[in-house]
Symmetry: C2
Subunit: 346 residues, 2 copies
DNA sequence: CTGTTAGCGCTTTCAA
DNA sequence: TTGAAAGCGCTAACAG
């Protein structure tokens, strides 16, 4: 077992050196106006000399609040989450809160433990991007602190959330493919248990209905969890004689897998999908991407949470739902339309 | 100002319900063997009923150790840092430590504040990827807790660090370009104040010397801080009549900028650089990338730190330096060599 | 303007 | 096997 360190100087030590009580040191450090300038200076001198740092742990205990909010995400390596984290941090800092980040590293089953851990460490609130569809651990968490969901709606919980225009974005991007004349568009999606998955499928479907095109069910693949599974699914579809003339991908990792499949097959067909990504514009592929501001999701979530913290004494406000807009981006060569069929790469 | 929450049930409350003292509750929760089975069960029942969670803040205060280590990075959106963070977390968890992540969001001047904040929150040790070359704040930090540096060496500090084979990797990648006959290779690098910058330039230079090629100083651009500045620098070089026949980039963001410049110029020449990146293999560009395991940097750093924490009572060990190996990866079409000159894109 | 007292929730130590 | 007392470092509330 690892030894724990005892500790450095305390306010008492500082006080002794500055010839005042610990209480006065506390006042000086808190910028309490009721301290003479002379004393103030002596205290600061003592602080410097001892290299004293106030113990926030003791402070939290005494004050009954840690000044921390917890953020739980699945995968920081995905820019979506790291941008979201930046947004949370930006707003939290502004309001004097510190953010403690927890990363479930793609393991859904770790999420409840992370949430509990954060609560044990006295975070005053939580922002969570739930990895799975089970939210019981979040209901438990809500017994202790306010919880705000990001990018996923609550399932049986009465709390705030920040969502992307999933339906709208998917419909718009799909419609753009349909407008180019594509009628055989493959859908590559994450597990239907995820809200974003079903919602984006709904948008995909709605665009078809509006265009009077019947979607081909055999071109719909859900349950893709990462770039590798997406690549395989895409490869299988591309291999079919009656394969798709365009692809729709529900997130950046799935797009990556699909792009890799296209590359390996040595062909290309138009691809639409959620999430813009780095270098998407230099791939030279016909891409239609649904882009949105992940930072903004984080900022909004932080605002909702802090607002709830401010209201802690009064009536808890009714659950709110904030939506972050999407916009469609076009990259690469203009689509040749479905007639051209799969195009060999240059 | 934000109200602070009072608090949920305490051990005292649990004890009252289970008809034991708080002390016994503490023992049960700690798995202390000296408690009767019957009592144990009553306590657990009370814990469940109240939804009790042990207050880690109070615990830390009493124990004189928080069980947390701090990690400071500049930019979580860069996969290098998020992978590193994963590695740290992996090892820390294994040893029962929690990781508190702090992100300076590219603002070098925020780093000292983050470090101080973590110390105030009683982290038992720190892992830092220093953003700049000034390390005075780290010297201050070392007065309180052990500090391990990742990806940068200490400058005037006596402490452990984990480094990449910067020199070796740069030399090897450059050598591969030289072997293809290139003699006019541009160097696009980050500010020389950063260790990785100068070290990678040294490798670049050494490869030239070994090949008997005189590097052209006018092709060397240092001080590039992001993709945008790199893009501009690359564009300027490509625009010259006596421009380079190949590029060397010192990190992923600079590579991204250079690739975009190539794309906009509508030409391509071989590019070598540090850091592999997503979709590098489907760009269809002749790339020579120096790849390494960022997770492993994090893991090693965590090991060094935890080892130091274990030795806290005894003699502090001498500063150690661990190196993580690099390997060179080739992507895209075989280089046509310098004779071919800039090649129009397909 | 400054100090004393008490206690945040927990655990170590000592006693029963 | 269990409990009482003391105190980790800090600060609100009350003196002086």
């Amino acid at each position: 077992m690892t030894a724990r360190r005892g500790g450095g100087p305390t306010m008492h030590d500082v006080g002794k050196l500055a010839q005042v009580s610990a209480m006065t040191v506390s006042r000086v450090l808190k910028n309490d106006p009721g301290v003479s300038q002379a004393t103030r200076e002596r205290v600061f001198a003592a602080v410097d000399q001892l290299g004293y740092r106030r113990n926030e742990t003791a402070r939290s205990l005494r004050l009954g609040g840690s000044g921390m909010i917890g953020l739980v995400v699945t995968n920081l390596a995905n820019p979506f989450y790291s941008r979201l984290a930046l947004g949370v941090q930006e707003v939290a800092t502004e309001y004097g809160f510190r953010v403690v980040l927890s990363n479930s590293a793609e393991q859904v089953e770790k999420e409840p433990g992370l949430v509990d851990g954060l609560i044990d460490h006295q975070v005053e609130g939580l922002i969570v991007v739930p990895a799975g569809s089970r939210q019981k651990h979040l209901a438990d968490a809500m017994r202790h602190v306010p919880v705000v969901l990001a990018a996923r709606p609550p399932a049986g919980l009465d709390t705030d959330c920040v969502l992307v225009e999933d339906f709208h974005g998917a419909r718009e991007a799909t419609a753009s493919l349909l407008a180019e004349g594509h009628t055989r568009i493959a859908f590559l999606g994450n597990p239907p248990a995820l809200y974003t998955g079903t919602e984006r499928l709904r948008g995909f479907w709605a665009a078809h209905e509006e265009a009077g095109v019947e979607p081909d069910n055999t071109l719909i693949r859900q349950g893709l969890v990462d770039a590798a599974t997406a690549e395989q699914a895409a490869a299988e579809l591309l291999d079919r004689a009656d394969g798709p003339t365009a692809l729709f991908c529900t997130n950046n990792r799935i797009s990556h897998g699909a792009i890799r499949a296209l590359h390996k097959a040595g062909t290309t067909i138009p691809l639409a999908g959620f999430d813009d990504f780095e270098l998407s514009d230099v791939l030279g592929l016909p891409l239609t991407l649904v882009s949105y501001d992940a930072d903004e999701i984080g900022r909004q979530a932080a605002r909702l949470l802090i607002d709830r913290l401010d209201q802690r004494d009064g009536q808890p406000p009714a659950a709110r739902r904030v939506t972050v807009p999407t916009r469609v981006i076009r990259h690469g060569p203009p689509s040749a339309g479905p007639g051209a069929g799969p195009r060999p790469l240059a």
